[in-house]
């Protein structure tokens, strides 16, 4: 029974026609961790979550929840989830819905507590299909935690929430994690992953590109960023300069990721290429871009 691993993916693949939505994912989540699954839309986050919950079967590899097949862990009431898709269930009140879901679990929390955690106490007798988008999202959260499961899985939980509701949501989520529960959430917002998870798993094109704390990801992407105007000068050979790990050219501006900014700047000065020079520590967004090696940035503001 005692098993320190909550979630384990080993070489998991899943294709839909010609598309490899999940392309060899290895992932292990310990009990009590809060982990963010970070990636753009279409990176394979929702497919990964579907496999995790046993809603879908992998083509290859193995998924284990608490050392067991996902369907069995779900049947034993060890997981709760907030799914992304779908419209609210018609013709039930918030309280009826949460009460019903709680009673399908072996050891649920009191319904009033689930409602309070999700900030729904005042809306308990309203019909779910007559609530606003943000309120429905809170109902989904209450449904996920009503059974007091050891693992909760949240697929893009803050979509449709305004700033204030988002803060309240993360507070509740942290409160739930603090009880020793394991939380896995997916997001395409960097700040969210950085601020609310112990660990960030970056996925793109169905693969895990990086796995670590925000700080580790920043370090892995190279220590600093050196940017300058090319001013018509050549861009060839920049990747050979000392310390440089990758080069990005955007219009007339070159951005060099470097592990040794001093050496890089010295070399640039030698080439007389220091117009508009800027040296900065790498941001998490830059780290993400370096990892995914695509020019399209993640959304960083909303």
């Amino acid at each position: 029974m005692k098993n320190e691993t909550a979630v384990a993916f080993t070489g998991v693949t899943r294709s839909f026609g010609a598309v490899r939505a999940v392309d060899g994912i290895d992932l292990s989540i310990r009990r009590g961790e809060t982990v963010a699954l970070l990636g753009r839309n279409g990176a394979g986050k929702s497919t990964t979550i579907g496999l995790l919950l046993g809603l879908d079967e992998p083509d290859g590899g193995e998924v284990r929840l608490f050392g067991d097949a996902p369907a069995r862990a779900v049947a034993a009431g060890r997981t709760g989830a907030m799914l992304q898709d779908g419209r609210p269930v018609p013709r039930v009140t918030v309280r009826e819905l949460v009460t019903f879901v709680a009673r399908t679990y072996p050891k649920p929390m009191p319904v009033a507590e689930a409602l309070a955690l999700a900030g729904l106490t005042g809306l308990a007798d309203r019909r779910v299909d007559r609530l606003s988008g943000g309120q429905v999202q809170r109902v989904r959260f209450a449904v996920a935690l009503a059974g007091s499961p050891e693992l909760i899985v949240l697929d893009e939980p803050t979509a449709a929430l305004d700033v204030e509701a988002r803060e309240a949501f993360w507070d509740s989520m942290r409160g739930y994690a603090r009880r020793g529960n394991t939380v896995l959430f997916s997001t395409h917002y960097l700040e969210e992953a950085d601020a609310h998870a112990d660990r960030i798993v970056v996925i793109d094109s169905g693969r895990v590109l990086a796995d670590g704390t925000g700080e580790e990801l920043r370090r892995a992407a190279g220590g600093s960023l050196v940017a300058f105007d090319l001013a018509g000068g050549p861009s060839e050979g920049l990747d050979l300069l000392p310390g440089v790990t990758s080069v990005e050219i955007r219009g007339d501006r070159a951005r060099l990721h470097t592990e040794d900014s001093d050496a890089t700047v010295r070399a640039l000065a030698g080439r007389n290429a220091i117009r508009g020079l800027e040296v900065a520590p790498v941001s998490l967004n830059d780290a993400f871009l370096a990892l995914t090696a695509h020019a399209r940035p993640l959304e960083t503001t909303r």
């Binding site: 779900v74 779908g86 009826e96 019903f100 399908t104």
Partner: protein
């Protein structure tokens, strides 16, 4: 767990105004209309039509379970149920039980109209047995509706259910007595589940036990529709 689920789904169904109208109000009104218009208002027709219309209402209510299933498939509620500890079998069983609960208002509604408005006279035990026979006999139609619901989208299910509803009701003689049918249609009608369903009620109201043929035909249809529901469910679980 199933009891909780059935309670939730029954509430959801009864709150649906479309359901209340289509499955309760319409059969009651049709019954009153068909038995009080024109010259056809002898005692026997009032009783036969009462049972036909109660059967028709139960048929509609049972099929409407399928519309609910299709709606829930589209809204993501079925997916949400799959990640609760309830097993798929419990979910399907719960739905079928829900079906057997929500046919009751249709049956009771038409029987009340017969007894209170049209003055149909039956002994107390006969009323009870008629209601019970109609209630149990509606199971094949619940299974048919569930099969449609798992197989089709919400809109297609609606159309399929209306087609099944009208086709089975008219062919089975729930609207007009089969004595008005030409011979070939009358013999075909004897093989429909609806015709035998109504026969259950009619024979009980007439004071005798339902015939073995009627029970056999209903049992065969129940098995057929049950298989259809199971196959449709398995297909939808694979694709959604």
């Amino acid at each position: 767990m199933i009891t909780e689920y059935v309670r939730l789904e029954v509430r959801r169904t009864l709150r649906d105004t479309g359901f209340a109208l289509g499955a309760v109000a319409v059969p009651v009104m049709m019954y009153l209309l068909f038995t009080n218009l024109g010259g056809q208002n002898e005692e026997e027709w009032k009783t036969a039509s009462m049972i036909g219309m109660a059967a028709y209402g139960a048929l509609g209510a049972a099929l409407s379970i399928g519309t609910g299933v299709a709606e829930d498939k589209g809204s993501g509620w079925l997916r949400q149920l799959r990640i609760t500890p309830m097993s798929p079998r419990q979910v399907v069983t719960g739905r079928a039980l829900t079906g057997s609960v929500v046919v009751l208002p249709s049956i009771v509604g038409v029987l009340l109209a017969g007894g209170l408005v049209n003055g149909v006279h039956l002994a107390a035990w006969e009323w009870a047995v008629v209601a019970l026979a109609l209630w149990l006999g509606s199971l094949p139609f619940t299974l048919l509706g569930i099969g449609n619901g798992y197989r089709f989208t919400a809109q297609t299910t609606g159309v399929a259910n209306i087609a099944c509803n009208l086709g089975l009701a008219v062919l089975g003689g729930l609207w007009f007595p089969v004595s008005l049918f030409p011979d070939w249609l009358r013999s075909l009608s004897a093989y429909t589940p609806t015709n035998r369903f109504a026969e259950l009620g009619v024979s009980v109201a007439g004071g005798h036990a339902p015939g073995a043929a009627a029970l056999a035909v209903i049992a065969v249809w129940a098995a057929l529709f049950g298989t259809y529901a199971a196959v449709s469910y398995r297909r939808s679980a694979r694709t959604s």
